[in-house]
């Protein structure tokens, strides 16, 4: 007990430069107890003037899948981070703007030195989820891991092991990739494809374009005259460092910017000339009515359609499909008898017909124009449709393959863009892969899953998942749909025989583990970070301070475990540590591919620049070659053209849920039918400024700035006698939570917003007090991408 208190005194929330001398004595190890890995250098006590001993290190901001990558300037005194600043390069122009960190990066000390950091390996002593653990040694932890992993391989086979999706750490040496590599050396594990972020857009984009590379480099936004930010909120969720700043610059360059979102987001306020609220889940109705106006006003780019597209109208249908419903047929109601007029859409979307008409004309006649699709609206029941509908508008107006235009779709950066991961996980000997959102299905009934459930690479699976090894992930509980269902599955030892979690904190997922391993932060080991979806830069993240207590990097844990399995040399490629790998990434990957002019690792690291950037003076335009010469450079689609009518989707044979042309499909939870009488409000869970998904939920600086609240429109609140700041109960058939409310005009009536990522914190009755929206979301997946539909939620709310 005494030892525990000492730990807390070391990792209390405040590190004060003025208390520096006191700190330096703590860091000498005199108060730390055995086994602590922090500096034992007695000389540090001699330091009197902390300023003199200040080190400044430039590094990539700890990467937690925020969608950006920024530069930090970290001040260190005697092994402790005392201040964090950001990019201070003199030049800050559009070709190579400063990579300024956001609130999350700037507040990192409150995470880094949080008293709740995991410190020792822990083994479960209570029930799963109860949060009772006992401290064990690393030796014992590795013994357990070895025996459980080899036991499951022996009893069931490798496909019974799963290293789940997880994006809590993205520096290659910290994160899930080392564990995936080790498993692949041991015979593999059940793999997955797709993500929780982009399931539908990732699968739907290639059905239109045959590629995911549909985004121009962002400097090209300066060439645009009209930008529709559709459900896109870069000021808050980033989607590329500086995307918000680029929009500012495009606007100053003359572009008109319109934001369409149920919420008056920070982007709607600061980046847009106009905001239009739209009812969640009805964007395709809005887009379809825009198409109706564009067709009727004869604003289509017929030359582009004839040259580059397939399936727009009767004359444009692919060979053999001439009698099927074209996009024009759908819009005009030729076959279903419903013309998709602005008046039709008005009742669905809550947007006035006149507004729809005006936006359609503005978009189609102010060329070049961008329709940028956010990702929230594709994490919905029929998320595939909104991706295809947006891209269809871009196609019918000829805004593709030109400067200032935008193809829509996933929009990976033209010319290749960043590498997502460079750590070589090696190939997985287990061939079957599941859609990522179906992992609970694979626990319950993996052997029954087949291609009809999206299983790839195999006709069936040999096993249900029996062992989960979760690294830098909070999807086990916190981030997956329908928490009450998930925890029931996790609690059953007959289903999952063993659960291992590696993390920085005792997350809601870690509480369900049998074995919890303490991982150091990204400031405490070497790593490398690429830009994100956008950007021409790569960061190295040096080890800035020592890993405290008994924490280790994910890579080190896997390397130690590799020893037990006798594959250490193979795993480490002859003994590489984290820094050796980073050197290898720079010298053998980046210098040989993306950045030939980047200095060699040794020189680059010594220079303390933190980031290597390549200015963009002539932004690349996606699909340019194709649009200029579609015969010579056909797309990788069945027709070789932009498939407004998708042959692949036609062949799926489920026209009601997977139509070959983009259609508005009423969601299974919606505000229109009888169920809405019981649960009348739509809920959404937007990506919130103070967190990256569930990371930083325990950061006092960010969470004091933006506390977790349910945001309610004044009309919905007053109807229920709810006042600003009241505790309210929010519930549906899946679960309930009690949370403080904020009454705000910035959310449309009929919709509430519970920002996603808050840590699940149930009371004795199982009512969540942490504000986790997934207590209300569904595990149900989308029809084609088998993606998560976690924003399709109906609820009711009352004063608690």
């Amino acid at each position: 007990m005494q030892e525990k208190n000492k730990d807390i005194s070391l990792f209390r929330s405040r590190i004060d430069r003025r208390n520096f001398v006191k700190w330096s004595s703590l860091a000498t190890g005199t108060l730390l107890g055995p086994g602590v890995l922090v500096s034992c250098d007695n000389k540090s006590q001699e330091i009197i003037d902390p300023v003199r001993e200040e080190r400044i290190i430039r590094t990539g901001c700890p990467a937690h899948n925020c969608g950006g990558k920024c530069l930090l300037k970290v001040y260190v005194q005697n092994g402790i981070i005392t201040r964090i600043e950001t990019d201070d390069r003199q030049k800050d122009d559009i070709s190579d703007p400063q990579l300024r960190a956001c609130i999350r990066g700037r507040s990192y000390r409150k995470r880094q030195y949080h008293p709740d950091r995991l410190k020792y390996p822990l083994v479960r002593t209570g029930e799963r989820g109860e949060g009772k653990f006992r401290k064990i040694s690393w030796d014992t932890a590795y013994d357990i891991m070895y025996s459980k992993i080899s036991g499951v391989i022996e009893k069931y086979g490798n496909s019974a092991i799963h290293v789940p999706y997880g994006t809590g750490s993205y520096t290659n040496t910290n994160g899930r990739w080392p564990a995936a590599r080790l498993m692949n050396l041991l015979g593999g594990s059940l793999g997955f494809y797709n993500s929780y972020s982009w399931a539908c857009i990732n699968i739907a984009t290639p059905t239109i374009f045959g590629t995911l590379e549909t985004g121009n480099q962002r400097q090209d936004w300066m060439n645009s005259r009209y930008i529709l930010m559709w459900g896109w909120n870069p000021a808050e969720m980033k989607d590329g460092t500086n995307s918000d700043y680029f929009i500012r610059k495009a606007r100053e360059n003359g572009a008109r910017v319109v934001c369409i979102d149920p919420r008056m987001s920070p982007s709607a306020v600061a980046l847009a000339d106009e905001w239009i609220p739209v009812r969640p889940g009805t964007d395709v109705a809005f887009m379809s009515a825009m198409a109706w106006v564009i067709i009727n006003e004869k604003l289509t780019d017929n030359e582009f359609i004839n040259k580059c597209c397939s399936g727009f109208d009767k004359s444009n249908m692919p060979e053999g499909y001439e009698n099927e419903e074209s996009y024009r047929d759908y819009i005009l109601g030729t076959m279903d008898g419903i013309p998709k007029t602005p008046e039709w859409a008005e009742k669905i979307t809550a947007v006035p017909a006149a507004t729809i008409r005006r936006i359609a004309i503005e978009y189609a006649s102010t060329k070049p124009a961008i329709l940028y699709q956010g990702y929230g609206m594709q994490r919905r029941a029929y998320g595939e449709q909104v991706v295809r509908a947006g891209a269809t508008l871009a196609a019918m107006t000829g805004n593709i393959g030109i400067p200032g235009g935008w193809a829509s779709g996933l929009a990976n950066q033209a010319g290749g863009g960043p590498f997502w991961t460079v750590f070589p996980s090696r190939s997985n000997p287990v061939k079957g892969t599941i859609p990522v959102y179906l992992w609970t299905e694979a626990v319950l009934r993996g052997k029954e899953l087949g291609p009809e459930h999206g299983l790839r690479g195999a006709d069936k699976l040999d096993n249900n998942i029996k062992l989960i090894w979760s690294v830098a992930s909070n999807i086990l509980v916190n981030q997956h749909g329908n928490i009450n269902r998930t925890i029931k599955i996790l609690k059953d030892p007959d289903l999952l025989e063993f659960i291992i979690v590696q993390d920085n904190f005792m997350t809601p997922s870690a509480k369900y583990a049998d074995l919890v391993l303490p991982v150091c932060t990204q400031f405490e080991t070497w790593g490398i970070e690429d830009g994100w979806k956008y950007g021409e830069e790569v960061f190295i993240t040096p080890k800035i301070v020592e890993p405290p207590f008994e924490t280790k990097s994910d890579y080190r844990i896997c390397a130690d475990l590799a020893k037990r399995f006798g594959v250490y040399d193979k795993f480490t490629e002859g003994g590489r540590d984290e820094k050796d790998w980073v050197a290898w990434f720079v010298d053998e990957i980046y210098r040989k591919t993306r950045f030939p002019d980047m200095p060699p690792f040794r020189k680059f690291a010594a220079g303390n620049a933190g980031v290597y950037t390549k200015p963009v003076y002539e932004p690349k335009i996606a699909l340019e070659e194709f649009t200029q010469n579609p015969r010579k450079y056909p797309l990788n689609t069945p027709s070789g053209k932009i498939e407004i009518f998708s042959i692949e989707l036609f062949k799926a044979g489920q026209p009601d849920e997977i139509p070959p042309v983009a259609k508005y499909i009423r969601e299974w939870d919606n505000p229109f039918d009888e169920k809405a009488e019981i649960f009348p409000l739509q809920a959404m869970g937007h990506h919130y400024n103070p967190r990256v998904h569930s990371t930083h939920d325990n950061n006092e600086w960010t969470m004091n700035a933006f506390p977790q609240r349910v945001f309610i429109n004044p009309a919905d609140a007053s109807e229920r006698g709810i006042k600003d700041g009241d505790l309210v109960k929010i519930w549906n058939e899946r679960g309930a939570m009690i949370l403080k409310c904020r009454i705000t005009r910035r959310i449309m009536p009929g919709v509430i917003d519970i920002p996603q990522g808050a840590w699940y914190d149930p009371d004795e009755e199982g009512v969540d007090r942490g504000g986790n929206v997934n207590i209300l979301t569904s595990e149900r997946w989308t029809p084609f991408a088998r993606g998560n539909a976690q924003h399709t939620i109906m609820v009711d709310i009352e004063k608690a």
Binding site: E85, R100, C102, R248, S267, M748
Partner: protein, 204 residues
Amino acid sequence: MKRYGFHIDTVNCSGCKTCQVACQDKNDLEPGLIWRKVIDIEGGKWHDDGGVFSEYPFAYHISMACNHCSDPLCVQSCPTQAMHVTDIGTVDIDQDKCIGCGYCTWACPYDAPRLNHRSGRMSKCDLCYDKIINNENPSCVDACPMRALDFGDIDVLREKYGDTRTIFPLASPELTEPNIIIRPHKDSLKASGRNSLIANREEL
């Protein structure tokens, strides 16, 4: 005397509070103690036209710390002369003289001085004195991802950005002569006490 001041661009401010946290980090402020804050203003109304919304509200953000006023009421109201104007024209608190009575907070129309519960004394933005005497910007300015804050000699800033010193709901500048220039968000022109309010009081 030369005066330093801020340009606050409410057109481009997204309310992200990176400035607020950069300030907390630079000055080692306890959670709950903020020297720079971001005010969220909401105004206007929803008009429900039979399930169709024909009128929408508006919002904008104002990032604000101490305005280092030329006629600082906090200095006048301080009973111990702890609050004073420094040699470079900024307003600062002599921690040896401060008794934490909070009169400065009552006097300040911008709610800038805050009680530091740990020291029992008042505290506030010192304009990053240590940085500006080295010709660096205050931390908040260089933190802004939208480049919506600027800093410098107020006369130079006025030439560059004009002389708007207030928008709703800030106090009349005649009260304290704040050294700020505001670039008004388009919707701030519509805002008034009758149709608008501060929506995030609990965060301030």
